[in-house]
Symmetry: C2
Subunit: 596 residues, 2 copies
């Protein structure tokens, strides 16, 4: 059976196959310089059209001609002219891989940096990441997680407006550029994770609905109609998504997918699409002999997502745990709008170090009971972050935590994350206290949509009284969000970097920290003084981390060798050795032989 | 969305939905006494037709009218008039279940009897099994496994000619009879497994091909074209099979499915259909809070089948292990035709007690290397048998082992199975040495097919020189295969029953035997004397079973308390206490405190 999309079969021969629903006829339009040639497709079965053509090689440009016009291939691997343009035939057998020694990374060893390709480097593309791998390795990063790279409209986009789910965004480079990045990462011992969006499609350049019922009115999502996983013809859309999973994990050697907002993936089928995604990933792990991870973003606090398939779970390897972030963030900033209303108590950390905070209690924001008990799930199944693209970028001013709290506290709060028995995720720039915002930016071309997005953003934030909101469509909004080049760093940037680097190193090497064993972790919060104490232990060695998030200094009564201190000079403090008091915002780690 | 088939929605309202491929029109024909009424179905999407009708209640008879005629519903839950007749609407909500306390049985505790419903009891139906549950419990059976009960042609059939995969065979009773059997078994602590056939359909009454491409020429099987799991339109056939799995495990509370000959299930999809079947079973286990088992018959000796889904395995809970049977059978009978050519050495048991015999070596029968290493898979994942419907019934004369070897040897060979760390399966009648054959019988109605089957069977066996073969179509062939009523048992029948009963009891209660731990099992074979010695141990207690399959008696040198002896009077022997010699065909179990 032919594969979907345009594929090279052999030299100068390509196959084309497309799902096109309810058409009188479907043909292939091939563009050759200024001329176009049209080839009729044969109907293989209802809604499936295909052909095999000679004389078509890699690089050929094509569209499918449907009853209502010519449209890019839903399976297009590349859109050199963007979402509205022609699709390009890619020969996936051409790239010569050199990552045969790559065996993957133990999930417990993942230190992930979330990267938006367009703003991460000056070049703003995949090569720009490649050039910063030395930097990432100096920091101790073991995995990069790319925000979605599927083709979206315009010159820049966060990635969640993708419409060509198989296309490497041409702003970022070519399919080969992505392969080269993954290949090089693997040779350096870095895993590559990719953010993929299966809960909605972008609003512009989305021609999918000409091809078939990719959306269904049966369910609602924040983006309108849901992706059709269980309504009529859903088979084709399920296949589209499962093929997309294969595309990244198999063709591009990607090590894992971060599934965006799976709570908005509505599926009442007997087999949930996430179960099938997990199965595919497991099959590909077996094929490549490298663990392919499925990491889900979900706000539902439901362990079914990360329970094994053989227990009727959805089989995801891990999920994002927002509770942990929200407790820290609201404690530091006193913010209490929107879903932050359910947080605010530092005390919540006592629970959140080993479980969701919401494990079935009533939530005021959700106006219902929320969550299941996650105490039995291992720490490695939870991704925690002090900052991420959403928590920063969905603020009106896109302001990073480094501009909201003072320097000592910034270190201590990063310490709270890095001392946890969860998988830490660092949002690019966080590690040196980037002061530039990460704003919501778009580059829609459609005049109506441009206005709607600009207006919508203003309206959305007006209610919070957050003042003037940068226009997402203003190019400046994008440029302002770019990371500061390292050569322009100030002293504090390097000091914070040192802090992150050394905490990561400690985390990956210390016998107490390197296993993500939350059964051997106990957190205590002194609410009055706002002092957090976290114990972790293993084989007779015990570590106690103390964090002073309060306003006054606090005596250190604990015994033990101080092996880490956020106020050492290298981190911008004044301590040279032992601290007897935790100053405001200070963090200290003590090591002892006793275990609780 | 409506369910497939005919289903009661509420009182006096039913829905009908069918996959019918390439039809001009599809309608529903409802039979009411001698009149029929026709209702057009609406096309929901291509090939899917449905309607909701008032005034149609449980018991209504219907067919679907396609372009080429009126045919029973592929999803029919009941065919009161057989494969050619009308389908009947069943209200699955009507039966009142009383098995809410049923929590399932630990896989390690399964002692399964394989039952052919038509020949197991005098009544030859599901009620007949119900009446023999006392008997089965006296024996110690904890699970019954029904040979396929899907509707097949004629008055009797092994079950592998099923064509209405959702229908309880009307020869055996009604859907409620099956529910009552399962319900009662559960209340008595017995699990119910069901043999299902997803690798081919029966040759008569198979109207599926009028509905769609249920078969594909893409693959070959011993029964001709393969069931279409990966060719055009396979989505509908996959759904048909997955819905069937749900039907038995969910609607009928069946505890597990034995998948017939999965090596003939050809599927090159990214997700193998068996993976999806396992997933469905896991989802239903979660729903019912009862472990739903998938047990596969396969001749491939491939552990992928029973490896977990999260390792890219197919996720079956267990599989049949034929190697174990073949070694014992060929050692006892010296048979060496067909696939038996690869066996014959008693020595093979040393390996086969903890692994396949063929783990990658060259097989003369298969003319290729065969098998993978199964040493890491736990014992509970393998079903072993001394006899089963195939090994008995596929012999020309259907002769049971009880007619091939003498009485002491019969006990010892049963002991080899029951002392193993695998899941034992007992073929009905085996436990008391039934002398009646279990023959291959059919009751095809089609004149051409009748002749073909009769001729085919004769031809098939002529080459082996096994003499006159009973005609499968002769009713006598069926009647001769019925079990002897217990009231007609002879002394030896009761003695063998006692042996099975006591070995089962020992197996389920003895600390060394009750866990299926093949890592604490070691078998040694003295080939010259044909004496097998099997050690099993646990927590400082050790059991040694000695089996003399040779012609001469053999001294018992092992120390230990003789806790079981196949020659005790209760089992028809003459030993009253300790044996110093193992007589021909004798089996003794010794218990000691030492562990190897």
């Amino acid at each position: 059976m032919l594969q979907m999309g345009g594929n090279i079969i052999k030299k100068n021969q390509a196959s084309f196959r497309v799902f096109a629903y309810n058409q009188q006829a479907v043909s292939l339009v091939v563009k050759n310089e200024d001329k176009t040639e049209v080839f009729p497709l044969e109907q293989e079965e209802e809604h499936i059209y295909s052909t095999i053509l000679n004389g078509i090689g890699p690089g050929s440009l094509y569209k499918f001609r449907l009853d209502k016009g010519d449209f890019p291939d839903p399976y297009s691997y590349f859109q050199p002219e963007g979402v509205h343009g022609f699709s390009q035939v890619i020969d996936h057998s051409a790239y010569q891989w050199h990552d045969e020694n790559w065996k993957g990374i133990d999930q417990e060893k993942l230190i992930t940096m979330e990267i938006h390709t367009g703003t991460f480097s000056e070049a703003g593309n995949l090569r720009g990441i490649l050039e910063k791998l030395d930097y990432l390795q100096q920091l101790g990063i073991t995995a990069i997680e790319l925000m979605p790279i599927a083709q979206a409209t315009g010159r820049w986009n966060w990635g969640y407006d993708g419409v060509n789910l198989f296309s490497v965004n041409h702003n970022y480079g070519t399919p080969d550029d992505l392969k080269r990045l993954v290949d090089t990462c693997h040779q350096r011992g870095i895993a590559v994770l990719l953010d993929v969006v299966y809960n909605h499609f972008g609003p512009e350049g989305n021609y999918l609905s000409f091809f078939g019922p990719y959306l269904t009115k049966k369910h609602e999502t924040p983006w309108g109609e849901a992706v059709n996983f269980d309504d009529a013809y859903s088979y084709y859309i399920r296949k589209y998504v499962l093929d997309n999973v294969c595309c990244w994990l198999d063709l591009y050697h990607i090590d894992g997918l971060r599934l965006d907002a799976v709570h908005a993936i509505k599926d009442n089928s007997p087999l949930h699409i996430i179960q099938e995604i997990s199965l595919i990933a497991n099959n590909l792990s077996r094929k490549h002999q490298v663990s392919k991870l499925i990491i889900a973003e979900s706000d539902e606090n439901n362990t079914r997502l990360i329970e094994p398939l053989d227990q009727g779970g959805y089989g995801a390897d891990a999920q994002w745990m927002d509770d942990f972030h929200h407790i820290i963030h609201t404690s530091l900033t006193d913010e209490n709008k929107g879903y932050y209303m359910d947080y605010g108590e530092l005390k919540g950390l006592e629970k959140a170090y080993t479980n969701y905070l919401y494990t079935g209690q009533y939530s005021h924001f959700w106006e219902k009971k929320r969550g299941t008990d996650a105490s039995a799930r291992p720490g490695k199944q939870f991704v925690v972050a002090l900052q991420n693209h959403d928590q920063v970028g969905n603020r009106a001013q896109g302001d990073r935590l480094s501009t909201l709290v003072d320097f000592p506290l910034l270190k201590a709060s990063a310490g709270l994350v890095l001392f946890s028995a969860y998988m830490p995720l660092i949002f690019m720039g966080e590690e040196y206290g980037e002061q530039n915002p990460f704003l919501f930016f778009t580059d829609h071309q459609d005049p109506e949509l441009k206005k709607a997005v600009s207006r919508g953003r203003k309206k959305e934030f007006k209610q919070f009284g957050w003042g003037e909101v940068p226009d997402p469509q203003d190019p400046e909004t994008f440029y302002r969000s770019k990371l500061t080049p390292q050569k322009n760093w100030k002293e504090k940037n390097q000091q914070l970097f040192n802090f992150y680097r050394d905490m990561i190193k400690l985390r990956l090497s210390h016998p107490v920290l390197k296993r993500l064993d939350k059964d051997r972790l106990k957190a205590k919060v002194n609410s009055q003084n706002r002092v957090v104490q976290v114990h972790r232990w293993e084989n007779g060695i015990s570590l106690t981390a103390l964090f002073n998030l309060g306003e006054t200094s606090f005596p250190i009564e604990n015994q033990g060798k101080q092996i880490f201190n956020s106020e050492w000079e290298i981190y911008g403090g004044k301590e040279t050795g032992l601290s007897r008091f935790l100053s405001k915002g200070q963090m200290v780690i003590l090591e002892s032989q006793s275990t609780p």
